[in-house]
């Protein structure tokens, strides 16, 4: 286990992230231009979708059916478990509980990428259709949590159609789902031509990921100051909730027939908290939920936790679930 952790902590993306945090700690003003950061995330999501689509074309429905099922199940369980924990153990208000739950019910694509890079590095090649599962997990959790929040906080909830549209047409969905479809259609011959540029195991993708993680670290680092604002309960929540969701995801993934690599990734998805799709949706639907809470949790606590120590743990769990390692 320690060995796995060491390997992970010395990976370029982990170190780049740490460097980004340090950059903020020493109060450097350095940061990536906003447009470059967005451009990189577009490239990463689009590659993920394309490559996933190409692989999806090689998968059979029966292979995917059960993993897809458990993924949707996780999309229904995690927002509720997060909500209940916050509302009844943490004694948070309706809005804050539901708002935070929406983040943990959804998924962080970058955590997904970090997980896939990690397991591939470990030689545990995951199923090719994992990006498809990623898209399945993106939105249900957000809607469930926000529905709870809207109902219970009796907030004059905005038309859910509007919310639905907002989430389904967001950057992540467009690039992932769109990429999946395009990748699915182009066929291997076309893929071969562009593969070196989009291959999620390739040097360009991973190189770009490092620079992206550097900025992620800077963004997380610039929220360190808010850590005291969130208080000890949320601090703990931000690390224990992922462990629980991660274990659940890994276990269900293994049951559904996913390989060690695949189960690890499903666990990482379940454990992750969305910080791209969820925040604006929550902000618009539950304006009285405190953004400092959910953004600090997702960006400055749970994301680093998963990338630095969580993923290796889920990997270990997956090995155990498979009776290996």
């Amino acid at each position: 286990m320690n060995e796995i952790l060491r390997v992970n902590l010395l990976s370029p993306i982990a170190l780049a992230f740490v460097l980004g945090v340090i950059t903020r700690v020493i109060r450097s003003e350095f940061t990536l231009p906003k447009e470059i950061y967005q451009g990189l995330s577009i490239y990463l999501l689009w590659s993920l979708g394309l490559h996933g689509g190409v692989e999806l074309a090689h998968a059979t429905f029966t292979e995917i059916a059960r993993p897809a099922g458990v993924t949707l199940l996780i999309g229904c369980i995690t927002p509720i478990s997060a909500y209940l924990t916050l509302r009844y153990i943490g004694r948070f208000g309706e809005a804050d509980s539901a708002g935070i739950a929406a983040h943990y019910g959804s998924v962080s694509a970058v955590t997904f990428i970090a997980a896939s890079t990690f397991v591939k590095g470990m030689g545990a090649e995951p199923e090719g259709f994992m990006p498809t599962l990623l898209t399945l997990l993106e939105s249900p959790g957000i809607h469930i949590a926000l529905a709870i929040g809207a109902i219970r906080s009796g907030a004059k909830s905005r038309p859910t159609s509007e919310l639905l549209h907002e989430v389904l047409t967001g950057r992540t969905m467009i690039l992932l789902v769109g990429g999946l479809i395009v990748g699915f259609l182009i066929g291997d011959k076309n893929w071969k031509v562009i593969e070196p540029f989009y291959d999620t195991k390739g040097a360009i993708f991973r190189g770009a990921l490092c620079i992206f993680m550097l900025e992620m670290g800077i963004l997380a680092g610039s929220r360190l100051g808010d850590l005291k604002k969130v208080g000890p309960f949320l601090l703990a929540f931000g690390m224990i909730m992922p462990l629980i969701h991660g274990a659940l995801g890994t276990w269900l993934g293994s049951l559904s027939g996913l390989s060690v690599g695949g189960a690890t990734m499903l666990g990482s998805m379940a454990a992750s908290a969305s910080y791209i799709a969820a925040p604006p949706a929550v902000r618009m639907t539950l304006p009285d939920a405190n953004p400092t809470y959910y953004l600090t949790l997702a960006l400055a606590i749970t994301f680093p936790f998963n990338v630095l120590v969580g993923i290796p743990i889920y990997f270990k769990l997956a090995q155990m679930a498979h009776g290996v390692g």
């Binding site: 906003k34 610039s222 902000r283 953004p291 400092t292």
Partner: protein
């Protein structure tokens, strides 16, 4: 030349509000608007943007009564929960008709 005195309402708010605000301004009688992206800090600090502090600055030139309505609307709906400010400036425009 003959110029018309009008009001310019300026709103500085979280980027996530842009499209909603623009729709509401039109509904309240604005014939147009200009937007620039910016950043800033105020009394409230957090808002729900990946990049802390980024905001949008929306300008709309309108007749006095529309300015009134806009200020009342935003005060009622946005001041409590949002990073949001709104102020009014007196301007003199050419082609007054364009703004009514």
């Amino acid at each position: 030349m003959n110029s018309t005195p009008l009001k310019m309402v300026v709103i500085v708010a979280e980027p996530v509000l842009e499209s909603r605000l623009v729709t509401e301004l039109r509904e309240l009688g604005a014939t147009g608007f200009s937007i620039v992206d910016g950043r800033g800090e105020g009394s409230r600090h957090a808002h729900a943007s990946e990049l802390p502090g980024s905001n949008v600055r929306i300008e709309t030139i309108v007749p006095d009564d529309v300015a009134e309505r806009i200020m009342e609307h935003v005060s009622a709906h946005y001041f409590t929960n949002w990073s949001f400010i709104a102020y009014v400036i007196n301007v003199a425009v050419a082609r007054g008709a364009k703004y009514t």
